[in-house]
Symmetry: C2
Subunit: 404 residues, 2 copies
Amino acid sequence: MVTVNKNYLKLPGSYLFSTIAKKVAAYQEANPDVQIVRLGIGDVTQPLAPAIIDALHKSVDEMAHAETFHGYAPDLGYEFLRSAIAKNDYEARGCQISADEIFVSDGAKSDSGNIQEIFGTENKVAVCDPVYPVYVDTNVMAGRTGDYNKKNENFDGVIYMPCLESNGFLPELPVETPDLIYLCFPNNPSGAAITKDKLQEWVDYANENGSVIIYDAAYEAYITEENVPHSIYECEGARTCAIELRSFSKNAGFTGVRLGFTVVPKDLVREGVALHDLWARRHGTKFNGAPYIVQRAGEAVYSPEGKAQLKEQVAYYMRNAHTIYNGLKEAGYSVSGGVNAPYIWLKTPNNMSSWDFFDYLLENAHVVGTPGSGFGAHGEGFFRLTAFGSYENTQEALRRIKAL
Amino acid sequence: MVTVNKNYLKLPGSYLFSTIAKKVAAYQEANPDVQIVRLGIGDVTQPLAPAIIDALHKSVDEMAHAETFHGYAPDLGYEFLRSAIAKNDYEARGCQISADEIFVSDGAKSDSGNIQEIFGTENKVAVCDPVYPVYVDTNVMAGRTGDYNKKNENFDGVIYMPCLESNGFLPELPVETPDLIYLCFPNNPSGAAITKDKLQEWVDYANENGSVIIYDAAYEAYITEENVPHSIYECEGARTCAIELRSFSKNAGFTGVRLGFTVVPKDLVREGVALHDLWARRHGTKFNGAPYIVQRAGEAVYSPEGKAQLKEQVAYYMRNAHTIYNGLKEAGYSVSGGVNAPYIWLKTPNNMSSWDFFDYLLENAHVVGTPGSGFGAHGEGFFRLTAFGSYENTQEALRRIKAL
């Protein structure tokens, strides 16, 4: 008789964003004339840049002829893309990462969910609180946690590192030493950025303790300040303790195109085993490469035209971020994020709960955001707005919020 | 201190196809003037059909404008594709499968590797021998097997079901009752097909024992005989015991485009848990949808033009299959497969080992195939040739083999 993976049954309720979608749909149905502005989900709205569209058309044409048709891709990704990544994302920033340490994938969500597989189930996991839910949920599914604790709204056996107003939304070194440490900077959901010095402390800590940092740098394109690292490999010693996850979703609008990559340095060895070998084995066994046409689109991100066009696209969203940040400030809210990230993190007024504020904003301003408590217990009393809407909608949302 | 997933260390050596690639590269380097014909790997060579190219260009253009841009896809896949699949692959064959039981993915390799995650680690796994290596390797990685047994060339704790000349390369019901049963028909590597009556026996067996069948139907487009089922849901009772994996790689040439789907019927319940819910949770947590443009390409597979063009493409490869099958027969080989599948399975002459025959064929006919022993201990003494080359190369390969 087949048994099911009981770890799945520990996961409570439905996914945050499906709950939001249901609430919004119900409100819209009851109020059909209302124009709702959505600044909740982190999905982009700007079209793909012309350089990317050109690369897609060109590679589609290649697929139409036997001489230029491309079947199965190389396991780790095409050399043309991995070289472009190594050169532009790493060499250009003084990071020692070679093309064959880069694994091209169908996106950072897959990678951030799958990376835990190469580690033993006995490892102790540390995450920021609030946090992107995928890190915790995938470790729950793998049996690396205890049960869900309703009172604390978290999982037994996980080390939660509170990110609060009092610590500038940056985690502190935990009391109990973790094995796997998930860090995401610039942060989703809080929009907080970490300085190079601060990140160096984490790298040193991981090297001292034999821990591994899973570093999610999906939002690095939004960094505007000088002392904020774009990659963890800007820190000394990161090659022996860190895996980095990257996405094309937010810097190039690939949420519906699907492309990402993971860096596993060859110097990263635990128990005498190179993690690079394990991830290569995982990649080769359970994945068959990102589509050729999508990898060509990824290559175009690094072309001179692509770079120029995407710089504008990021600037477009950052104008939204500033509009939200400044508008909320003017309206008297306590606000953070938005400077090196496309997310703005605000404190709910009058000690409202995150979900109460969600309802309040939906009903009174017809604006949709994301309740901070959906990202973890310490997100309670906070609320996330994203810069990924259109400029017009963002302006309208802030006009309404200010009028409340 | 981080520990690694020790189960990965049980996996012996390198992947079959990388070993082949290395041997071929070495031979080509030593013999630069030789024209090698490759009938080894199961990768397609014909370009994408015009209807698919048109759908790709059209959807790429949609991505270039904000009004028609598509970001994150729905978790399970776009309704337009899931409906086309439900209608054409199931309703048209009298199978009761609804669109919301279909999960669109980036390919059958990912799904066939990931599906085991929703089951407990204590389940006993049965596979055919020889077999597509992904089924076993992913269960090894998950800790559902013992160590690799060098003498038997298999893993302890796995139920291997020998597929031999004596049983027409079809597995027999095993002595020990398995929980998870992997079946692939038409079969990779042997090319054997199963009749509806024979498959019904497996469905009945699974229902009687509470087992679950993972049914890989990646090659169903190559079925030419009437009594061979295209889907396991053609069998009575399959909705309560079977998950079906499907691919667009071989019926539409999507090996480099990446699209597949998995069917989990809502009636499939074990320990009171609907497996549909578990797979939906896995899909929603660790995957972010197949690219919009690729899903539109998948939709075009079911258009009248797409169907007509792909029928021709499959016929092209099947002409190769007949060329190989008949040519080998004429040359005195013992051959099977090739009638309902793009794979031809031949017995090596003079009791040569599979790898000896590989070397013999490479050196004397400059033809590359796949050693049967690479798919399992009971593949020893057999050899796989694929119909996915060009017609000219296939003819040339057979001319050379016949001349030996």
